[in-house]
């Protein structure tokens, strides 16, 4: 029982972190119909930025977050404006191919610069934890979890309450009509992609703080998790990504208790398939994006 509660608690905090990885991925997919296979590479790039800041300036990873977010926003904006916008209206296969290639390029550069070694950002609080009953909760993971929840709600507020959010949503619903309002779709797409990259970078920083990362296995795992969570939660839905992240985190954590390590991905896929059978539009999915109109 203790073991089970511990796994559940770990699953929740891990799920929050996964949600932060997925929320940007889901946003880009929902708005632009781009499945960004380089999302995991963005997260790891962000992790390296925070790691470098920590190594050279001793900057605490939580304080590095704004810097990582701004740097990754700029990176994402330029990638979308200069590269992905070229094929954004093309069949989805082309964007898959392009973002896959982009991921390879980024990861090989990272490997060249930093080698393929596992890295982690050491903090004094990483190994500390507190105890509720019989359950052990590490401070670092709990902080990462709350940060993920706050960012998810902030992003949802941006999308539903601000002019920019409405313009992003409108461009996602009907790009041609949005342009007739004078909304610069290319710019809006780039901003959307920049936001997603920034959130990926922040998630990568948190992952580097509570665990370890490397440029070979981490990115693929994160992209896969983001994919599963986005479909689980419903495309383009921020709260859906949060719910999907928690479901996946708990399922993987408890599943990991019962099965051996390599089965974790199988559990993720089983959860995905089960959801698609029971609720094809995702946990909190709406049919809104089904009504997408292209010029």
């Amino acid at each position: 029982m203790t073991q089970f509660a511990q796994a559940a608690a770990y699953g929740v905090v891990q799920g929050g972190l996964l949600a932060l990885v997925a929320v940007g991925f889901s946003l880009v997919w929902g708005i632009m119909n781009v499945i960004n296979l380089s999302h995991g590479a963005f997260a790891v790039t962000g992790a390296y930025v925070a790691w470098l800041l920590n190594q050279h300036f001793g900057l605490d990873p939580f304080l590095a977050i704004p810097i990582v977010a701004v740097a990754m926003f700029g990176f994402g904006y330029v990638i979308q404006r200069g590269l992905i916008n070229l094929v954004v209206n093309a069949p989805i296969f082309l964007t898959l191919l392009l973002t896959f290639g982009l991921s390879l390029v980024i990861l090989n550069i990272l490997q060249l610069l930093f080698t393929a070694d596992d890295r982690t950002i050491d903090t004094s609080y990483a190994s500390q934890s507190f105890v509720i009953g019989t359950v052990n909760v590490p401070y670092g993971r709990l902080a990462a979890f709350f940060l993920a929840v706050i960012i998810t709600f902030a992003l949802a507020a941006l999308m539903t309450r601000t002019r920019l959010g409405h313009a992003i949503g409108a461009t996602g619903m009907d790009r041609g009509a949005a342009r007739l309002m004078g909304i610069r779709a290319r710019h809006i797409y780039a901003v959307t992609f920049g936001i997603a990259a920034a959130l990926a970078g922040v998630a990568g920083t948190m992952i580097a703080t509570v665990g370890s990362f490397n440029p070979t296995t981490t990115p693929g795992q994160l992209t896969l998790d983001a994919f599963v969570i986005s479909v689980l939660g419903g495309l383009g839905n921020m709260y859906g990504a949060l719910a999907g992240g928690l479901v996946l985190g708990i399922a993987e954590s408890i599943g990991g208790l019962l099965l051996t390590g390599t089965w974790v991905n199988a559990i993720a896929m089983a959860v995905l398939i089960a959801t698609l059978i029971i609720r094809p539009s995702g946990l909190i999915g709406k049919a809104q994006y089904g009504g997408r109109v292209e010029v």
């Binding site: 313009a167 949503g169 409108a170 619903m173 041609g176 009509a177 342009r179 007739l180 309002m181 004078g182």
Partner: protein
């Protein structure tokens, strides 16, 4: 100088040419009708004006500036708003959010003027746009277009799918719109309605302008009556 002046415009989709040597003018603060049968190229002409499709040759000048080939967003900035065929409201957003997006470029957040024009929208502001009736959706689309305070409003198929009474209700607002400083270029299959509300009209047939002149004159023309209004000659 006319507000909008099109000279010998050729345009189409890919290799298919739709518009052949089209010339047309819209004066400021007027309602001008562009009428013709299904497939004549009316929608294509509006799309060429607002930059949704490129033109092959010919010129489109707006307030004396060449706009052929300019990006859609820049044409909006210059003062042309396009109410597209099928309205294309942002279906998941509320009426208020739709209207505010119409004022995106001009940063116009004042919806009182357009609500005054279509008071029913005032009671629907927080309703999701896709739940409006067809007539209300058309009003919302026109109001959204007016939010950028354009000098020229292009309206495509105003009557599409609407009850005649609703059409009359919306069409009755067009002279108010033009008097307040926004000229209207109305594309309409319902030729009787279009020629009644407008002052000038152009008839488009298989991509070519075949007739033009004061609307009253065209309405009284026996060939127009015979071809489009189903009236027997005599």
């Amino acid at each position: 100088m006319s507000l909008l002046e099109i000279r010998s415009l050729n345009a189409g989709y890919g290799r298919v040419q739709i518009l052949w040597d089209v010339s047309l003018a819209v004066e400021a603060e007027q309602v001008v009708a562009l009428v013709g049968a299904n497939g004549a190229g009316k929608t294509t002409l509006l799309r060429a004006i607002s930059g949704m499709i490129p033109s092959r040759s010919g010129s489109i000048t707006f307030r004396g500036r060449e706009i052929a080939g300019a990006p859609i967003e820049n044409i909006v900035d210059l003062g042309i708003a396009h109410v597209p065929e099928g309205r294309r409201l942002f279906s998941g957003l509320t009426v208020r959010e739709n209207l505010l997006l119409g004022g995106w470029r001009s940063k116009n957040g004042d919806i009182s003027r357009v609500v005054e024009l279509f008071p029913i929208l005032g009671s629907r502001l927080n309703q999701i746009a896709s739940t409006l009736s067809g007539g209300e959706q058309q009003m919302c689309a026109i109001a959204r277009g007016l939010m950028s305070r354009p000098d020229l409003l292009l309206i495509d198929e105003l009557s599409l799918g609407l009850a005649p009474k609703t059409v009359d209700e919306i069409v009755a607002r067009l002279p108010d719109i033009s008097r307040s400083g926004t000229a209207v270029l109305l594309v309409e299959q319902d030729i009787d309605t279009a020629l009644t509300v407008s002052t000038q009209a152009f008839v488009l047939e298989t991509g070519r302008i075949t007739r033009s002149g004061p609307s009253a004159q065209l309405l009284a023309d026996p060939t127009i009556q015979q071809a489009y209004l189903g009236l027997a000659p005599g």
